[in-house]
């Protein structure tokens, strides 16, 4: 009953190969995965569909990952947003977590790690999950 509707995931990364790889990895789990190559795309898509989980690259040209995080948090408050970055710094991490990111995933990562994290994000009830990034 609960799984009648496929979970909607949007991957936002300026690297097409990264977007594609993540999508491939998640499609195996029977999620509905969309990709966006920038903040504008992501916002446009999120306006049309309701995504359960966003995977957002922190460092992107145009709208930065952090700004996008803020916008998504206000537009889709029930969605969970996992930040991805190739250069995790304390500053980024802290800011992201304080802004409301669900978790933080440093590149590169194994498909299993990705799936586990996404499953966790989807499985938890709403916003109440404890912050794992401590």
């Amino acid at each position: 009953m609960t799984d009648l509707a496929k979970k909607m995931i949007l991957v936002v990364d300026d690297e097409p190969t990264v977007c594609k790889s993540i999508r491939e990895a998640l499609l195996r789990e029977d999620y509905d995965v969309d990709t966006a190559l920038g903040g504008e795309d992501a916002l446009r898509l999120s306006a049309k569909k309701k995504y359960d989980v966003f995977l957002v690259d922190l460092m992107m040209p145009g709208i930065s990952g952090l700004d996008l995080l803020k916008m998504l948090k206000s537009e889709c408050p029930s969605s969970r947003i996992i930040m991805i970055t190739g250069y995790p710094t304390m500053k980024n991490t802290l800011q992201a977590m304080q802004t409301g990111a669900y978790d933080f995933l440093p590149k590169p990562f194994l498909p299993s790690t990705l799936r586990n994290l996404v499953a966790k994000a989807l499985g938890g009830s709403g916003d109440t999950g404890s912050n794992p990034a401590g």
Partner: protein
């Protein structure tokens, strides 16, 4: 020049000698001047006193002289009034008169007493009755008496007249000149005239008619009554060493005719003459002479005054004189007393001066010695005389100056002693700082580059890693593909690890400092390694200073550093060995020092500078980032890591962590931006 030489020599003397010499000169000069002036004044006083006295004595002598003259005048005058004389003249019968006149003459000690008639012819010569009838009216005395005047005075009498009263009288008057050294030249060599006190009085009858003249005289020549009487009255016979102090003389012209001045033989010095000087002053110029004069054999203080006849012509001199010697001796005595007193005073002054000079110069001499000592380097020398005068103040100032000098030198010495050490220390620190700086900059730029590269590489790695795994999931059990895919996945993972290490190194995430015991961290590090080390036959020895203070550090990071160093040490000892870990305070007490000493293969000299460079490794495994990251962590905390090593002799890594958390803010903030 010689004066200057003497002066220069004087200046070279010691201060005390100079003082004494100066005062001595002043005293001597003062004494001499005083003595000279005193002598003058003394002499003047004594002599002028003597002169005043002799002047007074001369007046007294004149009194005696006039008294004598007056007595002759009285005698003649009274006798002229006697009846028998008038009778004889009136009657023209002089018989019997001669004898009575001669009686009077002898009684009163006259040399002549003669009666003449009214025309001036001699009637009776009482001394020499055989000669009479000669005309005496030409004689000024007789002439005046014939005019009724009683006349008295002094007269030069020619030998012709003298002889009329007897040859003995002429003989008494006669003098051969006795040669006298200082007398004026005279053409003649003898004196025939005589000098007489003479008085003439007219003889008259009751009616006052002139009957004749009575005249009488006293020949001075060789008559010593007057001079001796003067001596007796005026000088009262005072003697000095057997000599009469006072003398009186009658001069006929410049010739001594009656005197009590004695010659060498002790005879009366008649026949000698007066000195030229007196002659000139008294006989020629008719003045009074008072002063020193050489009289026959000795110096006298004398007074001479002219004797004049009744026509006011100068015919001789009256002299009184006092032997000068007693006055000179008196003066000498006074002077001697004076000089003696002056000498005693001078000696006393000299003593006083010597004492004062010593009081002044002795401290100076001591100071000079002290100054010498100080100049020679003995700055502990102190002067020990007090006193409130200038010398005391000087000594005090001297002492405090010396003390200051001493302190200053101590400071200098101390400073000099430490200077070299400090220079070395500073040089070493500078070199270290420079090394650290270069290394830090190298690391910073490398870090930035690494961060950029890592970020870019991470994206493709992500794609590769995910796809490799996706393929593995799909290919099932198909061995050849699976093997290749596994390899790809593993190597990609390795790449990811390298990049992660790079990022770790570049990132240097901010330290989370908390107070911790460094020994605790060391223990924990070693605990993790011990088993592994034991397997490889490596012993780990700890030597930890338990009294070390806690410091603010990021425990995890520091543990990472220790772990890196310990692992490196173990890997340097493939054959086994010992790792010593020591903790303690640095020598200057400002840092903790944790020292890792191994007995491993050591590090070649050329590798030491590169040890902390990222990616420098001598191992076949590892990223080459361990030491670089460790270094970065310690630098971030404000500390340093130093290495000393030689090939075959192991290596020593020293980690210094300042007690004060001087975390390098720039590195931290760079990361935060």
């Amino acid at each position: 020049m010689p004066m200057r030489g003497i002066f220069r020599r004087f200046l070279d003397q010691s201060l005390r000698r100079k003082l004494i010499l100066s005062f001595l000169a002043v005293i001597t000069m003062g004494g001499v001047i005083t003595l000279i002036i005193g002598t003058r004044i003394e002499h003047q006083t004594i002599i002028s006193l003597a002169e005043a006295k002799v002047r007074h004595d001369l007046a007294s002598a004149w009194m005696v002289y006039r008294e004598k003259l007056n007595s002759i005048r009285e005698l003649v005058l009274l006798s002229a009034d006697r009846e028998f004389i008038a009778e004889a003249l009136r009657t023209g019968r002089p018989n019997g008169v001669a004898a009575r006149l001669d009686g009077i003459r002898k009684e009163y000690g006259l040399d002549t007493l003669t009666l003449a008639d009214a025309r001036g012819r001699v009637v009776v010569r009482s001394r020499h009755v055989e000669v009479s009838g000669d005309d005496q009216s030409g004689d000024p005395f007789i002439a005046r008496a014939l005019n009724g005047q009683v006349t008295a005075g002094t007269q030069i009498v020619s030998p012709g007249e003298l002889i009329k009263d007897g040859t003995d009288l002429a003989e008494r008057a006669y003098f051969e000149f006795v040669p006298t050294p200082m007398a004026a030249e005279r053409p003649e060599n003898h004196e025939e005239n005589g000098m007489m006190l003479k008085a003439a009085a007219p003889v008259t009858d009751e009616g006052g008619a002139l009957l004749g003249v009575l005249y009488g005289g006293l020949l001075f020549n060789r008559n010593y009554d007057l001079v001796d009487r003067v001596k007796e009255i005026v000088f009262k016979g005072e003697k000095h060493k057997g000599h009469d102090i006072g003398t009186a003389t009658l001069f006929q012209n410049d010739l001594r005719i009656a005197t009590n001045v004695l010659d060498d033989q002790g005879n009366r010095a008649v026949g000698t003459r007066v000195s030229r000087e007196v002659n000139e002053a008294v006989l020629r110029r008719g003045g009074l002479y008072v002063g020193r004069a050489f009289v026959v054999t000795a110096w006298y203080i004398t007074a001479y005054e002219p004797i004049r006849d009744i026509d006011d012509r100068i015919i001789g001199m009256l002299y009184v004189g006092m032997l000068e010697r007693p006055y000179i001796e008196l003066r000498n005595r006074v002077m001697a007393t004076f000089a003696g007193l002056a000498g005693v005073c001078a000696l006393f002054l000299l003593g006083l001066l010597s004492f004062v000079a010593r009081r002044i110069t002795q401290p100076l001499a001591i100071m000079a010695v002290a100054a010498d000592k100080i100049a020679g380097g003995d700055l502990t020398h102190r002067l020990e005389f007090g006193g409130k005068d200038e010398i005391g103040q000087l000594a005090h100032a001297f002492n405090s100056m010396t003390a200051d000098l001493h302190d200053a030198r101590e400071d200098l010495t101390q400073w000099g002693r430490t200077l070299e050490r400090r220079v070395e220390e500073r040089t070493r620190q500078l070199r270290e700082t420079q090394d650290h700086l270069i290394r830090s900059e190298k690391l910073a730029s490398l870090g930035k580059m690494a961060a950029g590269v890592a970020h870019e590489i991470n994206n493709p790695l992500t794609a590769i890693l995910i796809n490799a795994h996706l393929l593995l999931e799909r290919c099932g059990d198909h061995p050849p593909s699976r093997e290749s895919l596994t390899l790809i996945a593993e190597e990609t993972t390795r790449c990811a690890q390298i990049v992660s290490g790079l990022l770790n190194f570049a990132r240097q995430t901010p330290a989370r400092e908390a107070l911790a015991d460094i020994n605790d961290i060391i223990e924990r590090t070693i605990q993790l390694l011990e088993k592994q080390a034991a397997v490889r036959n490596i012993q780990i020895e700890k030597n930890l200073d338990r009294s070390l203070p806690w410091v603010a550090i990021d425990k995890n990071k520091i543990q990472q550093v220790f772990s890196n160093l310990a692992i490196n040490a173990c890997e340097a000892m493939p054959e086994g060995g010992t790792l010593w870990v020591t903790s303690g305070l640095s020598r200057d007490g400002t840092s903790l020092e944790i020292i890792f000493v191994d007995t491993g293969v050591g590090i070649p000299k050329e590798n030491i500078p590169k040890l902390f460079d990222p990616f420098f490794t001598t191992k076949n495994f590892g990223t080459g980032l361990g030491l670089a990251v460790s270094y970065g962590i310690i630098r971030q905390r404000g500390g340093a890591i130093d290495v000393r090593s030689e090939v075959g002799r192991g290596a020593t890594f020293t980690v210094r962590i300042p007690l004060e958390s001087g975390a390098d803010k720039s590195e931290q903030s760079e990361d935060m931006s």
